[in-house]
Symmetry: C2
Subunit: 655 residues, 2 copies
Amino acid sequence: MATVNTKTGQAVDRSVLDSLLRRRLFYTPSFEIYGGVSGLYDYGPPGCAVLNNMIELWRKHFVLEEDMLEVDCTMLTPEEILKTSGHVEKFADWMCKDPKTGEIFRADHLVEEVLEARLKGDKEARGQTVVVDEAKEAKKKKKVSTKAVQLPDAVVQEYEEILAQIDNFDGVELEGIIAKHDIRNPTTGGNLLPPVAFNLMFQTAIGPSSNMPGYLRPETAQGQFLNFQKLLDFNQNSMPFASASVGKSFRNEISPRAGLLRVREFLMAEIEHYVDPEGGKKHTRFDEVKDVELSLLNRDVQSSGKTDIQKMTVGKAVETGLVDNETLGYFIARIQLFLLKLGVDPNKLRFRQHMANEMAHYASDCWDAELQTSYGWIECVGCADRSAYDLTVHKNKTGAPLVVREPRAEPLKVEEWQIDLDKKKFGPRFKKDGKTVEAAINSLSQDFREKLSLELEQNDKVEIDVEGVASGKVELEKDIIKIEKRTRVENTREYTPNVIEPSFGIGRILYSMIEHVYWSREGDEARGVLSFPPLIAPTKVLIVPLSSNQAFAPLSQRLMTKLRRMGVSNRVDDSSASIGKRYARNDELGTPFGITVDFQSVKDNTFTLRDRDSTKQVRASEDEIVQALKSLVDGDETWEDIRQRLPEFTGQDVE
Amino acid sequence: MATVNTKTGQAVDRSVLDSLLRRRLFYTPSFEIYGGVSGLYDYGPPGCAVLNNMIELWRKHFVLEEDMLEVDCTMLTPEEILKTSGHVEKFADWMCKDPKTGEIFRADHLVEEVLEARLKGDKEARGQTVVVDEAKEAKKKKKVSTKAVQLPDAVVQEYEEILAQIDNFDGVELEGIIAKHDIRNPTTGGNLLPPVAFNLMFQTAIGPSSNMPGYLRPETAQGQFLNFQKLLDFNQNSMPFASASVGKSFRNEISPRAGLLRVREFLMAEIEHYVDPEGGKKHTRFDEVKDVELSLLNRDVQSSGKTDIQKMTVGKAVETGLVDNETLGYFIARIQLFLLKLGVDPNKLRFRQHMANEMAHYASDCWDAELQTSYGWIECVGCADRSAYDLTVHKNKTGAPLVVREPRAEPLKVEEWQIDLDKKKFGPRFKKDGKTVEAAINSLSQDFREKLSLELEQNDKVEIDVEGVASGKVELEKDIIKIEKRTRVENTREYTPNVIEPSFGIGRILYSMIEHVYWSREGDEARGVLSFPPLIAPTKVLIVPLSSNQAFAPLSQRLMTKLRRMGVSNRVDDSSASIGKRYARNDELGTPFGITVDFQSVKDNTFTLRDRDSTKQVRASEDEIVQALKSLVDGDETWEDIRQRLPEFTGQDVE
């Protein structure tokens, strides 16, 4: 991968950008005066303002625009829920410990780094050119040192095969690879203990008696699923609909690196759109987006080891079946529109389809919006069709009817095997296990029921598997259970909706977008400019009195109050620094517009208005300037519009 | 305390209100399909919208209005920080366990309930009237049953004295009271184990090696304090200034009850305003608020066992010294203005001064904004002058310069005892402990330095206490330490700012405010009305087509789009329920305005606009109606204004 360039063609120098972001307090390591904790960052005033603006836009673009039902669920989550969802068992990474030094390595990362270093050494020994993938290097924690040692051809091939599927190994496989290829602590050369699974959720105990283990949620989705029934009811039983949620989630990374891109506490915005699985998952507003052109990296291209982009309208992508259905396509297009409003560079945005082995078994299709940064292509938004999985597991676990019921136009006749239990005998027999046994019986398939009915006829009793009760099997005699084929007339259709889930990592989007809007002026490369769109900029207007002359203060104050009343956030900088320096500081803060208060202003109440990106200025009366700003910030006019209708000003040099 | 009435004079029936809030999904118990967890609640769509509107108003009223520096710090917090702040040691309640049943009681609550029940029994036995404090009763977990048993007069007096200071006992004292007065498990009569401290923070481990214990923050303040230096720098070294933060905090309550008022995860909004301790803590904008009239319940009135309110302007309160200083007074007034904008009833708002024994030793004054509800007076906002405590403890622990440095107009000459260390000898002697020893030496008081200098002269060596190094004492000889009285000229003044901290419990304010805006229409007491101010209402406008006639749909759609584009949130209800029912539902949701689309609308594009509170209607053209709504929602006009300028409509009966 080549280096990534800014819009103006300079290479992004990450160390310079990072120093800008910390100096201007966009973000800062948390607890720094106590030494800091890796993977935890605080947002300072400009970062916080950008975050708030992003969330406000997200709410407008998604929640308000589509009448989504926003909910705010707790982060503390009892263990039982996350067992059902699969997180307790599967939300884990494999880690290896060095028993001597106590160091801990993420197993897949370690294998990757060591094998890559060996392949590099092999190339050096063979006298081949070594191409360094800088983006990949930057993400590495340890730089594993390279030795120029040639490897047998077969070993090279084996290493390359391992690396190609490094994301797919489980603990046993990783253990095998580590043993076979003698992978050790790169610093000390010491042997490592076999990989153990490390669950990535933060655990805690709820309440004083410690008998309720809980976790901090790893995503906001579960709270939304659990409220499905209430939300459907709130929506007056009308389908389709979506819930939405904005809030923090947590992931106890083994060894976080890569700054804001891999953190232990992060802001997410998630939508769960519920749709009828029958009828092809159409979307009534699909027509509005069908001409949106997307950059797609599909599954087949990736399988062939390539990264070629297909440009295609979402209409075409759904029509050809590349994107599974209209609703999924609708959200992919809406995600793109959202990202572009934020200031994302369309040339650094692609949608990558998940490979079959990346997707959960239940998912029918999944696309990630990836943004190109100096760290490589970063997954920032996921958009998955999760089918009926989530509602089904919680329904099966709790018995809550997480389903939609709607009247059928035509009654449906169903022939089926029905089971009757004699409750008078059944209750006393199973006591507290009754519910569990009954649930197990109710979930039996039609085929199995048919088999059971024969068994019952032959033996006068049947045996049924019930997990967690007695030995795991219960016996039921003819006097307690009856199995018959009957015809049922269904007037109501009952179904479990499918879920389309657009899931936004807000911090990742923020960082990637900042890389996209970052550039520097020719001849002043040490200072950056952040060209946030006005909607997203932390502060919209900087008011700069020419000097500390007393005559300027009341004018600055009046402008400030007037703009604030119109909802245009602004700051007065009356520090003693030169106007150029004050504007340069605000270029780094991404303030799109500046007003200079000068002696002419005192005389005739006119002001100059400066555009951050072009540094061009216009001059007009107070009312005209204030009105122009309102119109720029609301997005009703562009700077070009303003420049064409107000007289240019070239008096001061404030670049 | 008497029952609490709505604005229209009905008694607030909490069970009816609570059922409304759950039915309309303002809030709902979290994880209810899994049985729920006490003290954890989710906000549904209308609750979430009200929360978001409150936060937006808070940001406008405080952060934007005063250029505060908003930060967003992590909730995960390493233990060391919370040790320094005192939370690890002191943020705890005392709990008693019943060794037989495993039940856990909060010790102070148990003592209170048992002694109150005995006093009640005594009154019954003496034939006196028993006045039940319903608000207090409602908060109790167990109703301890009362037996009519007369107590000796001395015992009655002793019980009353214990109850008067129930908040002030530590574990040993509670243990003594429990033993002396034979307090047991009220249900079983079983003996309890002695009280143990239960820390109210949720504990977890950060990172894979479990060697970094951490907690979920109990408040947002600590993250703000730790960033003080960076924020001061960001503010271009200018004082005073404030930081602000909105986010979740956590409190692992022993046995939460009282609904949204006592929860384990809650939204806070906190301000840390940093002010120079010299010069009387004046505030430049105090004049703007000095005539705001407050209802004050001062310390002395409370000491005399009364709850009489003094009505007084904040100007007067500061002038007479009742409120400690202008900055504290300024924020108290600003808090009141904020609460009134939200819809809080001014007659159910008071500011209660903390008693001397309630305040931390370092605080110089503290006032709580309390709102009256059916649970009694509820602390919703705290406003404390925390002096220099927080910055000082973190500065002492880390050595970070959490101070302000400013040039002195006149250089200051200071005569003082200075200590010199011979670094060449000091370094090798103490190695890694060097920093700790040096910090201990630097923090020695002037008096102590004088004493040391004599000791050094006499013994040629001195002994200094250094916690955590060697035996806790280190010896320093004459060749390594020198202590001399010298004159230092200070051109820079260095000071630790004091902190004024307004701290808002958003969930408590939300619940209390809802009780204040809740009422029901005469003759329809089962249905409630929530009279949110338009600014706070979850949805501003309900659009109601008269029937499902096809002609209405395009008009509804057009109104919806138009209003949405103007930022006025709205919903179309085209369900088949009667217009009256649809409006009644939205009265419960607190939607302030309704537009009816009828046959006349199809003909001449006029619409009726309905006011929730009066149920009066006006009729006008589409443009006029839309403009009126924009003006109502922005607060530029009231319903009375609209009613006077647009023609009244009495056609439909839509009450």
